[in-house]
């Protein structure tokens, strides 16, 4: 029809709805025919036609929408259920997406962050995360892969002057630190290689504002950190985050690494982050550093011969703890979305059945299949738009709630670490676009199935008054959808149950020491003569220990280098089997956890003595160096606890420096430093022989609200210039340690609940509809003397068949999903029968719950009513 037409007219007609185009194309091309006497003006006519087309489209949409509003207003229950379903599904999905995007997809907050690599040391191929400073210098000097390498180690200090003393946290950094991250000073300058070995400091924007009133004359000012004086070189840009393995930290200051720890080979106290040279890949960088590490191992044969180096993208290190969880979260949210889609289709089918007559009449009056589909799309579109607005609000609420949760956590524990990338997680334009696209998909795909199902022979439908093959087909489709929902819901519930099981296992795991009523009290000692070296430190801790023990309610107190879950310190060690045996090469050399403790540490946290003796007052700096080892250490190195006593071990950063051989005098029970990790081999050294500042561990007889005040007062009596101590309970340390697992379990619990709820609604729809269609049948059966329990059985049977098939398919889905989850599970098999049976039980409960109402209704069918039905 469009052939031989003026291209302008053809273009104008293309804008118009197809119906208008078909109707008037011939007429218009005749009107504009130049061969006739007075053709209509081409330009203005075509413009007018195009404009008319646009108006017609708008009118059509408006008509569909207002029709949809009228239709929906007649079915408020349907509207509420549908909007709620879509809202929950979209909100869950958009929340998951914004987290996925913010944390895993958005770039790091540094210039060319994708070119940054985290460099860590390995032992036996296992990642140790930390590295020593001289190694990084060798990497920089001899390597070709990195243009600069940033080296950092966390630091804490007491800032005095300008108001009372406060605890602040920062970093010891190498000279190239700020260049690697490509940041510029907000004021003054940042540290450079020439600042190494000096007492210069860069302070954070926040500290500058809070303590120095944003004044420009802070430059060159001398400030005192834990008794040492630094001169301010500059102010770092606002919101500069320092990366570490698995976290980002806000910091108050950056100071150069002390030369004595920098030049110490084997002091694995640093994190290293390198910037790749242009064109160098991560694999090339790995090869380059491995080569250099092999040279280092050859040059320093006394060091740990098993050490290697690992190079990986910084973003991988940062997101390692959360990546799996986030991906699983998003996958589960997609499943919930699918369930919701099935639910909406199901609801539409129920309504289609109810509206059969209306649709048949409209079809008979000439409404095309497409037209009917568009009409249905308008309805779903309207529902979706309402749901979209609600979902965006709900997402906003969820993200705020999670942010608030993190903020509270930070306040509570004085933690300044944040989940890397969390600052990107917000309801921004891309997330909104995603939400809108999701809604559009919901309007496009969801109505397609019911419209397709309506392809059944209309004439047959009309003549049979509804009882036709089309209806049967629809019933099958709905049962199929409900089964899919159940299968998907079962998979989500199973994964949730597995994570919950894993969390429960973790909760129950013995850590090897008591945590209730135990507190770690951190005291920051100034770097002055008063607290320098062995006798001074020992004197202070002895006084503090006895002062704390005097505090009412305190049962015991001791000093330890590390205490509580989530803290550790490791080093290399070597073994000698007898005193005086001068073997050139150590028989075994590995990494071991070590702790420096006072004698009462073991009784304070109740670590049991298994063999030999504990430390005693007779173990002094002048007496025989001694050590106590853990059960695992004894088993791994001596084949048992009895053999360990009397053997010798040398503990310390073994490369270069020499450390005394220590006689093993006792064996104690194993402890865990991280939930989910097995206990590691551990060596305890007496504080009197290895005097390093640590924390004072305090056990109380019960909850004491005045504990913090009392301890602070006791400390002030010893030295009034000390900042108030940081007191963290062991239980708080545990809850930080299990935070990720807990968050994972909570998230999956929520998603599983949503999935169950949606599936429940789906099953209800199917069973209720089917029961209603069988009203006639039930009435006849009851009138013929069937017992109500038979009728109830008929209804339940149908639901249980759906549930059974759903669980069977769901089990396969869940088993597949759980395989990917193995890494996140703790002492829980991915096919844990308890979790699967529990999930099946929950699902069965949901199915029965969904069946209750239709069943009761079916049982109460009055034969007379039933016969009048239809």
């Amino acid at each position: 029809m469009m052939r031989g037409m003026h291209p302008l007219l053809r273009a104008a007609l293309l804008v118009c709805p197809a119906e208008f185009r078909r109707h008037w194309a011939g007429e218009l091309s005749a009107d504009l025919d130049r061969r006739r006497a007075a053709p209509l003006p081409l330009g203005s006519t075509c413009l007018n036609i195009a404009w008319t087309g646009v108006r017609l489209h708008v009118e059509n949409v408006w008509r569909d929408v207002s029709y949809a509003v009228r239709i929906l207003a007649k079915a408020p229950v349907f509207v509420v259920v549908a909007v709620l379903t879509i809202t929950l599904a979209i909100a869950a999905n958009v929340t998951a997406f914004s987290i996925l995007k913010g944390i895993l997809l958005d770039p790091l907050p540094y210039a060319h962050g994708d070119r940054l690599a985290f460099i860590s040391r390995t032992t036996h191929g296992a990642d140790e995360t930390n590295i020593d400073y001289p190694d990084t210098v060798d990497f920089g000097n001899r390597g070709r892969a990195f243009s600069e390498i940033a080296v950092e180690a966390p630091a804490h200090a007491t800032l005095s002057g300008n108001g009372g003393p406060v605890e602040i946290s920062g970093w010891y950094v190498g000279g190239d630190y700020f260049r690697v991250f490509g940041v510029r000073a907000e004021l003054g300058r940042l540290l450079s290689p020439s600042d190494m070995g000096t007492r210069r400091i860069v302070i954070s924007d926040e500290l500058w504002r809070q303590r120095f009133d944003s004044s420009a004359d802070v430059l060159g000012r001398r400030i005192t950190l834990s008794g040492r004086t630094y001169s301010v070189a500059g102010v770092a840009p606002a919101h500069l985050l320092s990366p570490g393995p698995g976290f980002m930290a806000e910091s108050d200051y950056w100071i150069p690494i002390e030369p004595r720890s920098a030049n110490f080979r084997g002091n694995n106290a640093f994190y290293a982050i390198g910037r790749l040279r242009d064109g160098v890949t991560f694999a090339q960088a790995q090869a380059d550093l491995s080569r250099i590490m092999a040279q280092i191992v050859r040059k320093f044969p006394n060091g740990n011969p098993q050490r290697g180096v690992l190079v990986r993208p910084l973003v991988d290190t940062l997101t390692a703890p959360t990546r799996m969880l986030i991906v699983m979260l998003y996958a589960a949210a997609i499943l919930v979305l699918l369930i919701a889609a099935a639910n909406i289709m199901n609801l539409q089918l129920v309504r289609a059945a109810a509206r059969e007559r209306e649709i048949i009449v409209r079809s008979a009056l000439g409404a095309t299949k497409k037209r009917l589909a568009v009409q249905l799309a308008a309805e779903v579109g309207l529902l979706s738009t309402g749901a979209l607005l609600a979902a965006v609000a709900l997402t906003w609420f969820c993200l705020n709630a999670i942010s608030g949760f993190f903020a509270r956590l930070g306040d509570q524990y004085g933690m300044r670490m944040i989940v890397p990338g969390w600052e990107h997680v917000r309801l921004n334009a891309p997330v909104l676009v995603y939400a809108v696209i999701l809604t559009l998909l919901f309007t496009a795909i969801v109505p397609a199935l019911p419209a397709y199902m309506r392809g059944a022979n209309l004439a047959a439908l009309l003549s049979a008054g509804g009882r036709t093959a089309g209806v049967e087909r629809r019933a099958f489709a709905r049962a199929f959808l409900a089964t899919c929902e159940l299968a998907l819901a079962f998979a989500v519930v199973c994964v949730g149950a597995l994570l919950f099981q894993s969390f429960a296992h973790m909760e129950r795991t013995p850590v090897g020491f008591v945590e209730r009523n135990v507190y770690a009290v951190g005291v920051d000692l100034p770097n002055t003569r008063r607290y320098f070296g062995y006798p001074a430190l020992e004197r202070f801790y002895a006084r503090a220990e006895s002062a704390f023990r005097e505090v009412p309610g305190v049962a015991d107190a001791a000093e330890a280098l590390v205490a509580g879950l989530g803290s550790q310190s490791n080093t290399d060690y070597s073994l000698r089997h007898g005193l005086g045996v001068k073997t050139a090469r150590p028989e075994a050399e590995q990494t071991v956890e070590y702790n420096c403790v006072t004698p009462r540490f073991f009784s304070t946290v109740e670590i049991p003595l298994l063999r030999g003796r504990l430390f005693a007052a007779t173990d002094t700096s002048a007496s025989q160096p001694v050590a106590i080892v853990s059960q695992s250490f004894a088993a791994a190195n001596f084949g048992g606890m009895n053999n360990a006593i009397g053997k010798y071990v040398s503990v310390g950063e073994s490369t270069g420096a020499t450390f005394p051989l220590r006689r093993i005098v006792g064996v104690v029970g194993d402890v865990r430093h991280f939930l989910g990790d097995p206990p590691r081999a551990e060596v305890y050294l007496p504080f009197s022989q290895v005097t390093v500042p640590g924390e004072i561990v305090v056990r109380t007889n019960g909850d004491d609200p005045h504990l913090a005040n009392d301890l602070t007062a006791a400390l002030a009596k010893i030295d009034p210039t000390l900042a108030p101590p940081q007191i963290v309970s062991f239980l708080e340390m545990r809850s930080i340690n299990e935070l990720m697992t807990k968050i994972g379990a909570i998230i999956f619990f929520t998603l599983a609940a949503i999935a169950l709820l949606l599936a429940l609604a789906g099953v209800y729809g199917v069973v209720a509809y089917s029961a209603e269609r069988r009203t006639h049948e039930f009435g006849v059966r009851i009138s013929l003397g069937a017992h109500t329990s038979t009728i109830a059985g008929a209804v339940i049977r149908e639901a249980l068949v759906l549930g059974g098939i759903g669980v069977a398919i769901g089990t396969i889905l869940a088993a597949l999903a759980a395989r990917g989850l193995t890494q996140m599970l703790y002492q829980t098999s991915p096919l844990d029968p308890a979790a699967f049976i529990g999930a099946a039980f929950l699902l069965a409960l949901a199915v029965l719950l969904a069946t209750c109402v239709p069943m009761l209704r079916a049982m109460r069918v009055q034969p007379a009513t039933a016969l009048r039905y239809e």
């Binding site: 104008a12 008037w24 005749a30 009107d31 209509l40």
Partner: protein
């Protein structure tokens, strides 16, 4: 509607008729007219006829009795408006429209 009062016509001739009747001051555009024609047909004011068999591209319309009623009604409404306008001296009395 007035253009259809004296018999059946097709779109083009309606445009020309209106143009002539108003001395060229009112020019109906094809798109607008055809949209109106469809609407009026949907409302049952006009009906499509078999028309001229020589020109099968053309669609011919004529007034239905109902359409005629609407046209008369609308004319009367306009007339009464004109009457009011005259009474208010907005239009000179006695002049034919």
């Amino acid at each position: 509607l007035l253009a259809l009062a004296d018999g059946e016509r097709h779109g083009y001739s309606i445009i020309k008729e209106v143009e002539e009747a108003t001395g060229g001051t009112v020019r109906l555009l094809a798109g607008t007219l055809y949209r109106l024609l469809k609407e009026m047909a949907a409302d049952g004011w006009i009906v499509e006829t078999e028309g001229d068999e020589n020109d099968e591209r053309r669609r011919y319309y004529r007034l239905t009795p109902r359409g005629r009623k609407v046209a008369i009604g609308e004319s009367e409404r306009l007339e009464s408006l004109v009457r009011v306008a005259r009474a208010r001296k907005l239009l000179p009395a006695g002049r034919l429209v």
